[in-house]
C-alpha cells in the first residue's frame, strides 16, 4: 500500500513538473533570441487564466475560449516586450530584469482589482474523476495537462525546424549580427519570441487552472520553480526542461510526503542554488565561450 502511495505521489508530481517545464520552455524561447526573460511570466499565466475564466463565464465554448486565451497570451507577451524589454535592450542595459518584475506587479494589482483576491474554480469539460492504472489513480485533467504540454511544445519545435521563419529564429539565437546581415530583423524576431512565450504562458494557465484554481497568486510559486528548471536544465537546451521539470515535480511531491508539505518549495530552490554554484550553464546547456 505504501509503495503504491509513493508511486501515486510521483505520478501527480510528474504531471505538475510538466507544467514547470512548459513555463521554463517559455523562458528559453525569449532567452534564445533576446538574451532576456520575462520575470513576470507567472503573472502572464495568471492573467491569461483569468481572461479564460471570464470568457467561459460569457458562455463561450471551451475550444474557442482556449484559442482566445492563447491569443491574449500572445498579445500580453508582445506588450511586455514593447513596454519593458525593448526599452532596456535598446540601451544595452540589464534594466529588463527590473522592468519585467515591475510589469508583473502591475499585472498582479490590476487583476486583484478586476477579478478579486479569491481563488475561483475553473470550469472545464474534461472530467476530474480518477481512473486506475496499475493501482495508481490518474485523472483525465492530468492527462490533458500532459497532452497539452507536449502538443504546444511539439508545435513550436516543428515551427522552428520546418519553416523559414523558424530557422530565422534559430539564426538570431545563434548570431544576431549575422542574422541581420541576411535581412532578418532581430527586433522582430525578439517580438515573435515574446509572443510565442506569451502563448506558452497562457497554455500553462489553461492547463493547470482546473487543478490549482484561479487566483492572483496562482502562479507565483510556479514561476519560481519554472525558473529553477530553466536554469538547472540550461537556458538554451530545448527538451532538457522536460526531464528536469518532471524530476523536480517528483522530488517535490516526495518531499511533501516524507518531510511535510511545508517543505515542498525547498528542493526547487536547493537545485537552483546548486546549479548556479556548480554548473551555471545548466546540465544540458552548452558552455559559452565569449569572444572579446
Amino acid at each position: 500500500m505504501d509503495q503504491i502511495m509513493v508511486f501515486q505521489m510521483m505520478v501527480s508530481g510528474a504531471f505538475m513538473g510538466l507544467v514547470y517545464a512548459l513555463v521554463a520552455y517559455g523562458f528559453q524561447l525569449t532567452y534564445a533570441t533576446g538574451k532576456s526573460i520575462n520575470f513576470g511570466q507567472g503573472e502572464l499565466v495568471m492573467v491569461s487564466a483569468f481572461i479564460c475564466l471570464s470568457l467561459t463565464n460569457l458562455g463561450l465554448p471551451y475550444g474557442i475560449m482556449v484559442l482566445l486565451g492563447l491569443l491574449c497570451g500572445a498579445l500580453l507577451g508582445l506588450f511586455v516586450e514593447r513596454s519593458a524589454v525593448r526599452l532596456a535592450l535598446e540601451q544595452k542595459s540589464e534594466g529588463w530584469i527590473l522592468l519585467t518584475i515591475i510589469l508583473g506587479l502591475l499585472f498582479f494589482s490590476v487583476s486583484e482589482n478586476i477579478w478579486g483576491r479569491d481563488d475561483r474554480p475553473f470550469p472545464t469539460p474534461i472530467s476530474s474523476d480518477a481512473f486506475q492504472v496499475f493501482g495508481i489513480s490518474v485523472t483525465p485533467v492530468e492527462i490533458s495537462v500532459a497532452i497539452g504540454v507536449f502538443f504546444i511544445m511539439g508545435l513550436i519545435e516543428l515551427f522552428k525546424r520546418q519553416t523559414l521563419l523558424g530557422k530565422a529564429f534559430e539564426a538570431v539565437s545563434t548570431d544576431r549580427d549575422a542574422a541581420e546581415l541576411m535581412g532578418i530583423s532581430a527586433n522582430r524576431t525578439v517580438m515573435l519570441s515574446y509572443a510565442i512565450s506569451g502563448v506558452v504562458a497562457a497554455m500553462a494557465g489553461v492547463l493547470i487552472s482546473p487543478i490549482t484554481t484561479v487566483g492572483p497568486t496562482m502562479a507565483s510559486a510556479l514561476v519560481l520553480k519554472a525558473f529553477s528548471v530553466a536554469v538547472v536544465a540550461g537556458l538554451d537546451s530545448g527538451f532538457g526542461v522536460v526531464a528536469v521539470g518532471i524530476f523536480l515535480g517528483i522530488l517535490e511531491s516526495l518531499t511533501s510526503y516524507y518531510i511535510g508539505s511545508g517543505w515542498r518549495e525547498v528542493p526547487g530552490l536547493t537545485l537552483l542554488i546548486l546549479a548556479l554554484a556548480l554548473r551555471p550553464t545548466g546540465i544540458f546547456g552548452k558552455a559559452v565561450i565569449r569572444k572579446v
Binding site: 519553416t163 523559414l164 521563419l165 530557422k167 530565422a168 534559430e170 539564426a171 545563434t174 548570431d175 549580427d177 549575422a178 542574422a179 541581420e180 546581415l181 541576411m182 535581412g183 532578418i184 530583423s185 532581430a186 527586433n187
Partner: protein, 244 residues
C-alpha cells in the same frame, strides 16, 4: 552602385573611421587594403549597418541607407560575408544557404521550391557544399565555412557584395581556392568590395583599390598605379614591397 561619402564611425567614444570615401561601380571588383587596425572591417560594418555611422553617407544603387538597421540594408540588396565567416553553426549547410535568401523567400512553406534555382547555382559553384548539405555548418572546416559564407551571401542575388577577409585563418591551398572563386564571381559580373589582409592577392584580382590607414583612405588607384607608387608600397603594403 555603392558610394560611401565621408563616413565616420566608431565604438562608444573611440572613433575608428575618420572620413572614409569610396565608390564601387557596377560589376567592378574593388579591394580595400591596409594594415591591421586600419578600420577596414569597421568600414564594412558601417556600410552594412552593423555599426551605425556617426556621420557621412552610404548609397546603394543611388539610395541613401546610412542609419538603417542592417536587416533593412540587406533587404535593399547588400550582402555581407563577414569577417570570421559567422555561419550558423547549429543549422545545416542548406539551412544556412536558405537563410541567405531570406528576404526573397516565403516565410512558412514553399521556400525550398522557390529557392531551388539559386541553391543549384551555389551548389554548382561549391560542389563540396552540395555533398554536405545536411551536415550542420559548425562541423565544417574553416575553408568550407568560408565557402558557405560566400555562398550564403550569393543566395540573395545581391546588388553589391561585401567580402571581409575571406582568407583569414585558412591554409595557403584553401586561400588559392577562395581566390579562384573570387575570380569566378568577378567574371559573372558581381559587384564586389573585398577587404583583404594579403594585399598582394587582393591587388591581383581587383579592378581598383583603396589603401586605408588609421581610419581613412590614404591612397587609391588601379593595382598598376598602386604598384608604381613606391611610397605606398613601402609605407602601407610592407607585405607587397617584399614580394614585388
Amino acid at each position: 552602385m555603392l558610394i560611401v561619402k565621408n563616413l565616420h564611425a566608431g565604438y562608444g567614444t573611440s572613433e575608428v573611421l575618420t572620413g572614409v570615401s569610396l565608390a564601387v561601380k557596377q560589376g567592378a571588383l574593388v579591394a580595400l587594403i591596409g594594415p591591421n587596425g586600419a578600420g577596414k572591417t569597421t568600414t564594412m560594418r558601417a556600410i552594412s549597418g552593423l555599426v551605425k555611422p556617426a556621420r557621412g553617407e552610404v548609397f546603394i544603387d543611388g539610395r541613401p541607407v546610412q542609419g538603417m538597421d542592417a536587416s533593412r540594408i540587406a533587404r535593399l540588396g547588400l550582402a555581407h560575408s563577414p569577417e570570421g565567416r559567422k555561419v550558423f553553426g547549429t543549422l545545416t549547410v542548406e539551412d544556412n544557404l536558405l537563410l541567405g535568401a531570406y528576404s526573397n523567400l516565403p516565410k512558412f512553406f514553399g521556400f525550398r521550391k522557390k529557392s531551388a534555382k539559386d541553391l543549384e547555382r551555389v551548389y554548382d559553384l561549391f560542389p563540396l557544399l552540395k555533398n554536405r548539405h545536411l551536415q550542420s555548418a559548425g562541423t565544417l572546416s574553416g575553408g568550407e565555412q568560408q565557402m558557405l559564407a560566400i555562398g550564403r551571401a550569393l543566395m540573395a542575388n545581391p546588388k553589391v557584395m561585401l567580402m571581409d577577409e575571406p582568407s583569414m585563418g585558412l591554409a595557403p591551398v584553401i586561400i588559392e581556392e577562395v581566390f579562384t572563386i573570387i575570380r569566378r564571381l568577378k567574371k559573372e559580373g558581381i559587384t564586389l568590395l573585398l577587404v583583404e589582409q594579403i594585399a598582394k592577392r587582393a591587388l591581383e584580382v581587383a579592378d581598383f583599390a583603396y589603401v586605408m590607414e588609421r581610419g581613412h583612405i590614404v591612397a587609391e588607384g588601379t593595382p598598376a598605379e598602386l604598384h608604381k607608387n613606391e611610397s605606398v608600397l613601402e609605407a602601407y603594403l610592407g607585405e607587397v614591397s617584399s614580394v614585388v
